[in-house]
């Protein structure tokens, strides 16, 4: 079993939007890492997060999730990884012909093969914290954009992800939910959930972040290598690579 949650080796990504793409980088994410992504080009930062979420196929490179190599061309194989990755971004959406509650329960409906299940107490507590408890029976069209984004955060958190990717979370929930969001992050960090932020808001970054990577001119640089945990041997690492 690998110590690292996610490893990308010799990865190259084609440009998206107004970005430059990212060429020939490696990236390792370990439990307890809270990594900030800095980039003058928002599209490059977003591209990086989408690549971690396996939503973008690389030009070349290998993707290792929880110690297992994955071929990104094998679509069904990648769905198992996607399910374990929480991805919050202003670009993601709720499914519009399902209610908020059905959106939150969709993975459970599918994987548990039951339709008569309800939100459990931790999920309801998250809904309360994010201020959408009253609206869970409505469809996304009945929610404000901020409430939709709050529901997306709740959806991604109740998946019990093994990695959390946050693309500009300050835009996602607005200032009124900032404290609630910071409280949730604190709890997740205490649980050593690896988190990758792409944010321009220092208030969000400075209290949490313990590593930074910078993407500029198609290069990923200034990465701080994660500290090795106690009890992990060199053989473990060598075997993994």
């Amino acid at each position: 079993m690998s110590f690292y949650s996610l490893e990308l080796y010799d990865y190259s990504l084609a440009a998206m939007g107004s970005g430059h793409g990212i060429q020939g980088f490696s990236f390792i994410l370990a439990p307890g890492d809270v990594c900030a992504v800095e980039s003058p080009q928002a599209d490059d930062g977003r591209l990086f997060l989408r690549a971690l979420a396996t939503l973008v196929r690389p030009l070349r490179g290998s993707y290792v999730f929880k110690g297992q190599h994955h071929d990104l061309r094998r679509y069904n194989d990648m769905l198992g990884c996607k399910r374990k990755i929480g991805y919050v971004s202003p670009g993601v959406a709720l499914i519009s012909n399902l209610s908020v509650k059905q959106n939150l329960l969709l993975p459970r409906y599918y994987h548990e093969n039951k339709l008569d299940i309800d939100l459990d107490e931790p999920a309801m507590a998250l809904c309360r914290a994010m201020g959408i408890e009253e609206k869970i029976d409505q469809r996304p069209a009945g929610l404000t954009p901020m409430e939709v984004q709050s529901a997306i955060i709740v959806r991604e958190l109740i998946k019990m992800p093994e990695i959390l990717l946050l693309d500009q979370p300050e835009m996602v929930v607005g200032h009124s939910k900032f404290d609630a969001l910071a409280g949730i992050f604190n709890r997740l960090i205490d649980e050593r959930l690896p988190i990758v932020f792409f944010s321009y808001d220092e208030r969000l970054l400075s209290p949490f972040v313990n590593r930074k990577v910078r993407i500029a001119d198609g290069r990923l640089t200034a990465e701080t290598v994660p500290a090795k945990p106690t009890g992990t041997t060199a053989e473990d690492d060598a075997g993994k690579r």
Binding site: L79, I95, S96, Y110
Partner: protein, 258 residues
């Protein structure tokens, strides 16, 4: 001259590629039927029932009057032309073999194919399909398979309803309002309908259902970034569905009746 040949060649290659893509999509959807994972069966079944309701049940109030009108017209016209002797046979030939499948397909294209293309295009443009993927669900199984099964089953059901209503309902209306001699009409119809007529009609309905669904799903998935791509995809899918159904109708009729 070279330019013209080049243009024709490029168009031919593009058309063949498009057809191959459609077959690839059919193959991917059918692979879900033959090798179904246990997860998601209840959810998929529920979406199939919803799709059946949208495509079949909600179409009945439109389909039944159309079937009655066409049934009346065909019976009246053929009785005038043939002087009753052959008109039940001709009505059956025309309705069961040709008009039934085509009109049903046209109705499904107008109501459901356009709706499905718009729905899938919006899901793609608004990144709802990505949300489905990130939940660990395969959109082919969760989105495409229920629509294929639902629309194809609805197509078969609507075709049967159309045939029954147009022949029996048309007969009833003509009997009530016109003075055309209708003796032994039903008996002649029963004698005129062969198993191959029913079989070919059903084959057409199934193939039309598959063609319509796959074409509108494919065009829906083609929209990627802009909302303005949605009407283009919808228009293309409607025209292509109709064209493919017509070509297939002619092809099947030639294979079975010539």
């Amino acid at each position: 001259m070279e330019r013209v040949i080049g243009y024709i060649g490029r168009k031919a290659i593009a058309s063949i590629t498009h057809l191959m893509d459609l077959f690839a999509l059919v193959f991917r959807i059918f692979s879900q039927v033959y090798n179904p994972p246990k997860a998601g069966r209840v959810l998929v079944r529920r979406i199939i029932v919803q799709q059946l309701y949208f495509t079949a049940v909600q179409a009945l109030p439109i389909l039944i009057p159309i079937a009655l009108l066409i049934g009346c017209l065909v019976i009246i016209e053929f009785s005038k032309l043939s002087g009753q002797y052959d008109f039940s046979r001709l009505s059956v030939l025309l309705i069961v073999r040709e008009i039934g499948p085509i009109i049903t397909a046209q109705l499904v294209i107008l109501r459901s194919a356009t709706a499905v293309t718009i729905e899938i295009s919006y899901m793609r443009v608004l990144k709802e399909l990505e949300a489905i993927e990130m939940a660990g669900l395969d959109p082919i199984r969760f989105v495409c398979l229920p629509r294929l099964v639902g629309i194809t089953s609805a197509m078969v059901g609507l075709f049967i309803v159309f045939d029954l209503v147009s022949i029996l309902g048309g007969y009833a209306i003509v009997w009530a309002i016109a003075s055309i001699p209708m003796s032994h009409f039903l008996y002649r119809i029963a004698k005129a309908v062969t198993l191959s007529d029913i079989g070919v009609g059903l084959i057409k309905a199934v193939l039309f259902g598959i063609t319509i669904t796959v074409t509108c799903l494919y065009r829906g998935f083609e929209a990627k970034h802009q909302i303005t791509e949605v009407p283009i995809a919808t228009s293309r899918s409607a025209v292509e569905c109709f064209l493919y159904c017509l070509v297939m109708n002619v092809f099947i009729s030639i294979v079975f009746y010539l």
